[in-house]
């Protein structure tokens, strides 16, 4: 099976690994601080930030102001807390073997 081992060698990964960490945004969506690795694409941070801020703003407009949102995807949870128009956002990748428990109380 030597030939299979040769093919099984791992190549340099070009996939984006979802990190655990947090970042803060000002009210205009600019990143103010971050504990995320620099390998995590800025575009991904921008997408997350845009959606989170838009959700807070739209909730306010719908007369349902929110100070915190927890978004649960199958493989990632995002916890966002409103900060004077901006937000602090935590990324929490999920594992298959991990029971789903809410992060906020």
């Amino acid at each position: 099976m030597g030939i299979l081992s040769l093919f099984a060698k791992s190549k340099g990964c070009r996939l984006v690994h979802l990190p655990s960490g947090s970042f803060t945004l000002d009210r205009d969506g600019r990143v103010m601080s971050s504990t995320l690795p620099i390998s995590f694409p800025a575009a991904h941070i921008r997408w997350i930030g845009q959606h989170v801020l838009a959700t807070f703003h739209a909730a306010q407009n719908a007369h349902m102001p929110l100070s915190e949102i927890l978004i649960s995807f199958a493989a990632l949870r995002i916890l966002a807390r409103e900060l004077r128009g901006g937000a602090i956002i935590y990324l929490m990748p999920q594992s298959l073997n991990q029971p789903l428990k809410p992060a906020l109380n």
Binding site: T55, A58, H63, I69, S72
Partner: protein
């Protein structure tokens, strides 16, 4: 089978493509026709032009990565089986691949034994006729899997996902010892899980420390469950001939949801902006419905962009109330809760509400 099944193999390593093409096409009993692609755009073009039973893809690809490709394939070809074959030993990518609906995640075999298991599993996927039922490790029914695990005296945990809800069945030394689903435990949870008609399941490591709550043998359990399901089916009112929509009135269903503890309002709206909203406990539902629609759509898009599987639920906390948002089929549900209700209770209650809604 009317003709040989077709497999699409995607890997940027031409050597791997050739090796696996030869092995799969010559050594599998179903003698599949294997087509190959060395990049995602070529693979997607082949999928457009032909019907494949199975796609096997590496994750590490140039330009468009394997997760993106699999995400597109799952969305456009829901009946096609998807298998990841990669050298990446990373729990997160495995989790994300399964979250996207991949059937199996394989590390490229490094021994004869591993290769044998891989080939066997591919043949099992190809020979499955239950394309619309449970998707899982062996593409067998849930009852088959439980019987197999019990007969082989296994210790394992079965995780079963049915839309937005999931359940677990613990098997220890060939006996079902506990089950948990949508707020239920033990035998009622087992029966609830077996009543699900579709979904996916995974075998997780066993939990030897799990306390035993079920003392009936697995044969007895399966028999009891089959009887309970038969009785429940026989008690359903007959559907009049020609009737097309036996669903109860939406307003009545929403009134039922309002009975859950802590619920302040319920809003159910369709996926389109012009669809009718049904609600309870809201004075001005329109702005809320709009917010729900925009928010769920936005985060569903984000799920695609980040490749993190489907959006399960959103829970918001505000000074006046907590809210939970989720999709159930073609309906978007938004439920308001009293602000004092703990978030984990909101999450559990929302899961129960979703189960009630789909049932």
């Amino acid at each position: 089978m009317p003709s040989n099944p077709k497999i699409l193999l995607l890997d940027d390593d031409l050597g791997v493509l050739e090796l696996y093409r030869e092995m799969l096409s010559q050594h599998l009993p179903s003698l599949p026709e294997v087509r190959t692609a060395s990049n995602a755009s070529r693979a997607l073009a082949l999928l457009e032009s032909d019907t494949f039973a199975l796609m096997i893809s590496d994750l590490n690809l140039p330009k468009m990565d394997g997760l993106q490709t699999l995400s597109i394939a799952r969305r456009k070809y829901p009946q096609m089986r998807l298998v990841v074959l990669t050298g990446i030993r990373d729990e997160q990518f495995r989790t994300r691949a399964y979250a996207m609906g991949v059937d199996q995640y394989w590390i490229k075999p490094e021994s004869d034994q591993e290769l044998g298991l891989f080939m066997e599993s591919i043949e099992s996927l190809l020979s499955s006729e239950d394309q619309g039922k449970f998707r899982g490790l062996q593409s067998k029914s849930l009852v088959d899997i439980i019987q197999l695990e019990c007969l082989s005296q296994s210790t394992t945990t079965l995780k079963i996902t049915n839309g937005v809800v999931d359940g677990r069945i613990w098997i220890q030394n060939g006996e079902v010892i506990d089950a948990e689903a949508v707020g239920l435990n033990a035998e009622p949870a087992f029966q609830r899980i077996l009543s699900w008609k579709t979904g996916s399941f995974e075998l997780l490591p066993g939990d030897p420390d799990r306390s035993r709550t079920i003392f009936t043998s697995y044969q007895g359990l399966l028999l009891n469950t089959a009887q309970a399901l038969d009785e429940a089916a026989s008690q359903l009112p007959p559907v009049p001939q020609g009737a097309t929509d036996p669903a109860p009135d939406a307003a009545m269903r929403i009134a039922e949801l309002s009975q859950f503890p802590g619920v302040e309002f319920v809003l159910a709206s369709g996926l389109n902006r012009d669809s009718k909203d049904d609600y309870w406990g809201l004075d001005h539902p329109q702005p809320v419905a709009q917010w729900v629609q925009d928010t769920l759509r936005g985060f569903a898009e984000l799920a695609d962009q980040l490749q993190v599987g489907h959006l399960q639920q959103i829970i918001g906390t505000g000074p006046q109330r907590k809210v939970a948002l989720a999709r159930s089929g073609d309906t978007q549900l938004c439920v308001g809760f009293t602000p004092a209700l703990p978030a984990d209770t909101v999450q559990e209650t929302m899961n129960s509400i979703l189960t009630k809604w789909v049932s």
